[in-house]
Amino acid sequence: MENTKLTAKDFSSGLPVKWCPGCGDFAILNVIQKTMANMGLPREKFAVISGIGCSSRFPYYVSTYGFHTLHGRACAVASGVKLSNPELSVWVITGDGDGLSIGGNHTMHAIRRNMDLKIILFNNRIYGLTKGQASPTTLPGSKTKTTPLGAIDYPFNPARFAVGLDCTFVARCIDSDIAGSTAVMERAAKHVGTAFVEIYQKCVPFTDKEFEWLKDPATKEDMILRVEHGKPLVFGKDKNKGIAIKNMKAEIVTFSGAVPAEVAVYDETNDEMAHLISGLKHPEFPTPIGVFRAVRKPAYEELYYDQIKHVGDTKEHELEAVLTGPDAWEMK
């Protein structure tokens, strides 16, 4: 696997990229191409599997193996790819509709099995490709083509959803925050087991303003909580606010000077902390981003091949023995 070092450009398929000008997907594409280049794997060792949606056009733009499958089925197809060909680095590209609405069952079972997939969920809180219907992450009250009076469904919080399923790696990042999403992606790439990454993604025609408050330089530092393992949960332009946990509930504490002890120190291996933190919501709380959970547990395909490594490959005579079974007889 010692190739000449590849660059992000080597991971571009050269095809014209057909997203709306200004779409958040462009930035994510760049970050992932760069991440792949840094993995030290040759292109043929990658498979990028997507469902259907704007985001799911992704594989066409990456110069690896790619499969643009069916709406909602990316995780299921990818599970087949990974199990059949376990040396591959398999990336699932999906949307909030693709991965959480029609594809919810496959997403959750991939996570349950800890299948070694990098599931990258582009959350623009809308059905982009079909032109603007509500998705399971659309916020209550939002007016979309299917919710003319405002959505009434309670939304999923994708990262918390994954944490709730005990996903071994869960992170959230923002399309425009290149440094943040690069850091998250690099760690996801190295994780063995299911890595679930939610990306807040701008959709120009339909949810243009959805994440603006997390991007506006004037306000963003007060709006974002950058979660880092081993570091206290501090935020704010002046780094003067922190999250304390009391009676299993989060509270904002404001301080000046040194970080007080009541401010929780983040532990990405603690399930309950991940659950609590991933649940913090605007406007009561800042919006957490970063790696929420990262633990190592054998991946499904590791367990699979481990359980049968003593069997090895089926030899011809072994197959013949199977065909024969314990009860055969000779006829002359």
Binding site: Y65, G66, H68, V77, S84, K309, M331
Partner: protein, 617 residues
Amino acid sequence: MTKAKNKSVNISKNKSFTVRFAGDSGDGIQLVGTRFANATAVAGNELSTLPDYPAEIRAPAGTLAGVSGFQISFGDETVKTPGNKPGVLVVMNPAALAVNLKNVDKGSIIIANSDAFSQAGLEKAGYKTNPLEDGTLSNYRVIAVPASEMTEAALADSGLTKPQVMKCKNFYMLGILFWMYGLETEDTKGWIKTKFKKVPAVAEANLKALDSGYAYAEATEIFDARFETIKSAVTPGKYRNLTGNEAAAYALLTAAKLLKKKLFYGSYPITPASEILQTLAKHRATDVVVFQAEDEIAAMAATVGAAFGGNFSATGTSGPGLSLKLESMGLGVIAELPMVIVDVQRGGPSTGLPTKTEQSDLLQSIYGRHGESPLVVLAAASPADCFYTTLAASRIAVKYMTPVIVLTNSYLANGSEPFRIPKLSELHKFEMAKLPPPDQFKPYARDPKTMARPWAWPGLKGYEHRIGGLEKAEETGAISYDPVNHEKLTAARSEKMRLVAESIAPTKICGKDQGELLVLGWGSTYGAISTAMTEAEAEGLDVSSVHLRHVWPLPPDLGKVMKRFRKVLIPEENLGQLRMLIRSEYLFEPIGLNKVQGQPLNSDEVLAKIKEVLGGK
């Protein structure tokens, strides 16, 4: 062969016999049935078996709902089905008698465990008085055996508990049957020893029960009849009994080995297809990946993924699952990846009759996907043929780069028959298009002889490419919205079917190759039709038959073959699905024999229809 020595009995010789074991699901009926089948096979018979499970997992003991059955027909090469009505019915309790009596002709033998015909037992079966005694069975030859009592006596010193002892009475009965048919007990004894290796006392008890039953039959006056079959001349070799589901599973293992690829089988449990999954699960290896998915959609999608990943890949299911798989199967069609889908048909529509047999998914297999989405459909004719049909499907899938559906059904899946075990070296190799060098590789460049596109999987350097479910441009496989390209690709996918059709071997006619009547069958009706044909031939009727493995596309010479007969009869376990295809393809009206009862067509029904058709000419 053990011969009866100490008393004089009538030996009836016959070409074949049909025996049915029936009892409570707790009575070990399937077990003794299988052992009996094995013994007949070892003795050189052809045979065909069919288990008949109760629908409930554990219906209350002794009730009608709890009756389990196992039927076997054995004898010479004319044996192709488990038989219509048994000549000997073995019943372990009154409920088993009540459920099965209507299927036994007068004059047949009924062997009953009379100990089970207690007041309580009779009531559960809905009998007011004891049918063994009240004249109900006066037209039958009843042999009442106090099997419980005799077993208990035989095992008095076994040290086993009463319930344990009672569990041995099936072997007692089996011993009687072994004697009646002059079968060797050796193999079964060996089997008992292996099976109960860990509990020697139980092994011992079962052996003793078997011997006691045998001795009882030999000793007692009530058994005045023994039976001997006229053996057929069979191809020499090693044989085993195989159910259709095992056969399908083994064929997939074999196909992968011949192709020198890893096997991927992704499935979701469903009656009556679960045994394929369960059989393969036993043979997992680093090159046999068996994946129980969360549902049928995931199973199919993972199967498509594994084909993309470069494995020889397959899935299996039954009707409701097939409905769910259609969308992902369509992805397999447009992606032109090889895969095999085994559909073990059951009674529909909807949940329908999950444990019963039918042939009603044929049109769904062909037309069930949205858009023009053609694929190949094969149908297996018998339990052992599930092996060869699945293997044939695998070859087509890989050679033509297409999904192939194999239709079996619960009758074939659960039924068994002897299967000559092939050496892998006997089976010819798989054909598969060669990959061009990377710089000449185009994902949708086709081999004109097969219309197959090249199969390049992740891991292969230089072949990196992207495919998907949108319409694709000729050669490059890029997304194309071009109208004329769409028409071309649609035509290419359908041309592939034409080429598969062209490759089908000439249609084999059983009987004269022209005449009054052709019986055209497909799939699981093979046994019933063959048996009926043998009888019809014996009666000198002017009838031939053709049995289709290739149900879609149809064999190109089929039209010509059918033209040589004045009439065509199509027996099917549905409302006429093949008949519909034949009408549409050949523009004439075949005669239908349709049974939609969740039960297999039997040879009597086919024969009667043949006579009706010929009589009415």
